[in-house]
């Protein structure tokens, strides 16, 4: 088990490093001279441009720049923002908690709403609840975050005044953005849970359980649901990526702090070190979440635990 986790950790590290390198290459290949952009093409002599270039190491060939970037990264040095000279790492660490909290709340909303509606929908197959749940699921998947966000904002903040429209202090500011993002994930999970529940309910062992005289409640929640959760969990691992990209829009709509908004600003001003830093952390969160999901399989499904024990080095 520990061996399996170590292997996974190692491969996760490779994924994070690989994605950082990919971003470096993409940013390198993008048109536009970062130094000229920094200087706004103005008030600068060719000497000034050259000196700034060499100061930033941008006069070096690609492989030297890449090597330097990589070595610095391994040492935990993310560089400084080209816009205002802020250190990238502290800047990201300052804004990361807000994004993590939002992601956590959204994942919780996705899980609770998704599993609840999915189960209800499967139990009351083709009933009103089923149709309503599927409608909400479809709504969550198909509506872009900024649209859902603005609808929720108009209704619950501006019309009804229940929750603040902006800010990042306190749980109240988390409700609307959490719902906005959570509904996206919930949409996927509702459909997933409903389908697997229906599939599981058709399995012969459910018939056996019922024949043994187990209560319907125990059949549903003790056996059918538990067996339907694995695909839902996998889904969570995948939707975290979706949620993280959704934070870019959601943080802007609800004027929240977070790395999504920093990323958007950095891309617009071609602040490459900041973009790279944020991508690094985003990749890290994504990989870690999927690792946790993988590990949690073994808690839910004894078969996975056993096979990992056998196969583990």
């Amino acid at each position: 088990m520990t061996g399996a986790i170590t292997t996974r950790l190692f491969s996760s590290l490779l994924v994070v490093l690989g994605s950082s390198m990919l971003v470096f290459i993409i940013m390198y290949l993008l048109p536009g001279d970062p130094v000229l952009i920094m200087l706004d093409g103005n008030a600068s002599t060719p000497e000034a441009i050259a000196s700034l270039k060499s100061h930033l190491g941008l006069d070096q060939p690609f492989y030297v720049q890449f090597y330097r970037y990589f070595i610095h990264l391994l040492q935990g040095d993310f560089g400084v923002s080209r816009v205002n000279g802020d250190l990238v790492l502290p800047k990201i660490l300052e804004h990361l908690p807000a994004t993590l909290t939002l992601t956590l709340v959204s994942v919780s909303v996705s899980l609770v709403v998704g599993i609840l509606l999915g189960v209800l929908s499967a139990i009351h197959r083709n009933g009103v609840i089923d149709f309503a749940a599927r409608f909400i699921g479809l709504f969550g998947i198909s509506m872009p975050a900024f649209w859902t966000g603005i609808l929720l904002l108009l209704l619950f903040s501006i019309q009804l005044g229940w929750f603040p429209a902006m800010g990042s202090d306190g749980w109240k500011t988390l409700v609307l953005p959490g719902l906005t993002l959570g509904l996206i994930g919930a949409g996927f999970i509702v459909r997933m849970v409903r389908n697997t529940m229906l599939e599981v309910l058709g399995e012969p062992y459910i018939l056996t359980l019922r024949a043994k005289g187990l209560s319907e409640r125990s059949v549903m929640y003790g056996h059918a649901l538990r067996n339907s959760l694995i695909p839902a969990l996998t889904m969570i691992g995948l939707t975290v990526g979706e949620l993280l990209s959704g934070t870019v829009v959601t943080e802007t709509v609800f004027a929240r702090q977070g790395i999504g908004r920093i990323l958007a600003d950095a891309i617009l001003s071609k602040d490459i070190p900041v973009v790279q830093g944020v991508i690094f952390f985003t990749a890290m969160i994504y990989v870690l979440t999927n690792l946790i999901v993988d590990i949690s399989y073994s808690f839910i499904d004894p078969r996975v635990r056993r096979s990992q024990l056998k196969g583990g080095v």
Binding site: N84, G85, V128, L153, S157, G161, G167
Partner: protein
Amino acid sequence: MNKRRASNWMKFVLVSAAFVLVLTGCASSKGAGDTGTPKAAAEGSGSSSSSGGELSYALATSPDSLDPGKSGYAVSHRVFRNIYDSLVSELPDGTFKPWLAESWTKSADGKSYTFKLRHNVKFHDGTPFNAAAVKATLDHTQTLTGQARTLIGPFKSAEVISEDTIKVNLTEPFEPLLSGLSSAFLGISSPKALQQYGEQYGKHPVGTGPFKFVSWSENDQIVLEKNAEYNWGPPIADNKGASHLDKLTFKIVPEEATRIGSVQSGQVLAAETVPPQNILTLKNDPNIKLDTAITNGTPYTLYFNTSNAPWSDLKLRDAVRSAVDVDTIVKTLYLGTYQRAWSVLTPGILGYDASLENSVKADAAKANQLLDELGWTKGADGIREKDGKKLTLRYLESSPNREKRNDIAAIVQQQLKQVGVDVKLTITKDTVTPLTQGEYDLVGNSQVKADPDILRNLFRSDRVYGKGGYNYVKLNDPGIDKLLNQGYQETDPEKRKAAYAQIQQYVIKNALALPIYVFPYTVAHSSSVEGLKFDLLGYPQFYDVTIRK
């Protein structure tokens, strides 16, 4: 079973219909401008008298730095104007009054100014305000490339004559100096804080202004509080003592629906940059007041690159100008809330030539006739050709998200297509390359400045792009250079005005530029907010603001 399923379907349809109704219901009542009852006078504003309380003000973008020497953004100025005072204050009529300087004299050659400074003024960190502080601030601007450095022009040195006397030396006469010094970009910083925070000063600003800096949480808010000792306000303010407000909080809210909705629901007391469609709605809202101020400088203008053939030809440029219907553009896009521009200066700036108003008009027939005369004939695709070359115009736009500038580009493209000109549109934030290489025929730009000397940066032959200037037109006319120099060196305001009038007429006569609109700075605020004023540049002034109970 079938029957049951059918009734379930009915229920589902009803439920979802109700859901949709709830959503659209709230949307339509929004559209009608009936926002219900905004929860009166919002959070934190629980003042019982006309004094005290907190003003929350939603900004559309975030300042980059609160170091006035470093920043070039209007939004930074809106925030740090409250933290810093200036040596002089510019009145709406373009004259100057004492502020931190009690009086000043200009040397006979116009190359040095001596300021007598006010006594008993203290910075927020307790440092006394004196000549050394002014020198430290002015020297600081020279180490950076911000707006401040441009505003102070040919600055040579600052000499401390005595504790309360400072002499500013220039390399040549520079008439816009006082105007520059009146801006918060040249607001006076605490020398102690400049020293203490170094590179990080932009996050720890210390001035002598009516508000002290408290905190800045990035992308969230900037909090300022009242400077209780303040009694050296500018002459344009009614207030003579400390600010009426206890607290001034700038929230950074990029999404316009959120920003405007928050004012309507009372979650903030004021919000800037109101989109035109909301202006009309908010005008009918009894709880909201709408303020508009003209931002002075150059209006949003499309500049021709006259160094590129065939656009070096005046007649061809004139044809394009005749084909572009600016009235329609401005009316369609801004619903009557923006003013059309007629010159390359805004009305309200010294030297604005009002005689240019209505001097050009859209006339597609004339455009066609001019193009025919020049020998450009329409090809099979409707685009004109001459000697096997198509008539194309490369249009460069760098701020598409501002004030629907991308829509202007699209309409111009359509209008020019009608007369057979093919517009190749490039919308990009990265304009450095095309501008440096001259790969454009038309480019849009606007600038904020209180002095007409701004034109020097746009039209003097040496002010080329990449060397500190914005001569998009690539104009190289010794006569205009002379007038532009006269404009900033001449001491007689009447002569300055005359020089600038000549320059503006020249630009329009030669169809070097197509002025489009004058940008109004708009603020929507709760009707409980009183005394909000705007300075010459359209920047809001919070010192006189009170919040009614």
